[in-house]
Symmetry: C2
């Protein structure tokens, strides 16, 4: 497991984007990193199939609203990264060119990463890329059966706000992405930095990774 | 106070965007509305000075990272709205063309709105637009002195996760935007709809508007 050891060196972060990503899966974690970047050196690559804006609207949700975010790199031009964030969302479901390209990218880049964070059903993309094989991981609790059914070689943990195994930090659904990111910041930058960020965004953290009210809600 | 009475009619929502908006101020509330739009009719306008992508990076934060979101309308072409969301962020501070245009838009559109939601220092923009005069409102607790100093005719409430006065719903900092939005959804669409959305995003709500750990943290 490689680590981002030198905290004075820029943290090189990347985020995978695809049509139908869940907005808060990205912007919960990324806004924590935005605040981190006010005091620490960070570079951010928003990575997708093309440089066209990427919508949060799933191709399968005809009547839903969406917002479009501008990528900075394609999967072919993405820079070297320390940390990759993989969000979930309705767009992770099924197979299409954007999702297959995202899965290939995750498979190819994982060996060079210091850390991988998955949020919500983003763990399904990491699982389909094979990078969770033999690892403990968690995912969205409402989509539990669907996502865990994608990969029998993953040791899925049903009651967890987030799970750390080696350099893979996987979280439960949507808002849990904020908690896993703050826990990751605490691990890498220290508890004081994490505390300042959570106070800055007035967020009451889930600090216990095995406290999971949503597992209980879904009888897991 | 006008209301969005007919829940089968589309909710026409708008969001003000300007350089240096806080990402989570927008995408916490908006992702709640994204999930609402899976089951209820919603239209969304992302409104800014021009149709160029709008960055979360503040002009004042040279080294910070940012993400760019594509507006759907300008202040001049924005459609009629039921609900306007005004986010905060470092970009609200001071005076520049984008912020002055946002303030003018808020002042001009407010009389036609059913509801106004402000998040974080977005209440400072609403205050500068004059639409909070004589009303109770709250804001970000870390930026308390700065924002409340902008408008002496507002009855600023120091200990509040959010405040409702008439058709104005103002929240405390950043993450509090999720709570005020879920409270607003509960008021307009009912508690069951709000509960389904918060469970869907695995968010543990602050349900008591006067419980405010961040006011305590800042000695307010």
């Amino acid at each position: 497991m490689s680590k981002h050891q030198d905290k004075s060196a820029p943290l090189r972060m990347g985020v995978v984007l695809f049509p139908g990503f869940q907005a808060l899966d990205v912007f919960g974690p990324v806004d924590c990193i935005n605040v981190l970047s006010w005091s620490h050196s960070v570079t951010l690559a928003l990575i997708s199939s093309t440089l066209e804006p990427v919508t949060t609207k799933s191709p399968a949700s005809a009547n839903a609203i969406g917002q479009s975010v501008v990528p900075t790199h394609t999967f072919a031009t993405a820079p070297s990264l320390d940390l990759l964030l993989v969000p979930g969302g309705l767009g992770t479901r099924g197979s299409n060119l954007a999702i297959e390209e995202a899965i290939s990218y995750i498979r190819n880049v994982y060996p060079q990463l210091c850390y991988l964070i998955t949020v919500c059903t983003g763990s399904g993309l990491a699982a389909r890329a094979g990078v969770l094989d033999g690892k403990r991981a968690t995912t969205n609790k409402m989509a539990w059966a669907e996502i865990t059914g994608l990969a029998v070689n993953v040791d899925w943990v049903p009651r967890a706000r987030w799970v750390v195994d080696g350099n893979v930090w996987s979280s439960s659904g949507v808002s849990a992405g904020i908690d896993v990111t703050l826990a990751w910041i605490e691990e890498v930058y220290g508890s004081e930095v994490a505390r300042k960020i959570s106070n800055s965004i007035e967020y009451t953290r889930h600090e216990d990774p095995i406290h999971d009210p949503f597992a209980e809600l879904h009888g897991l």
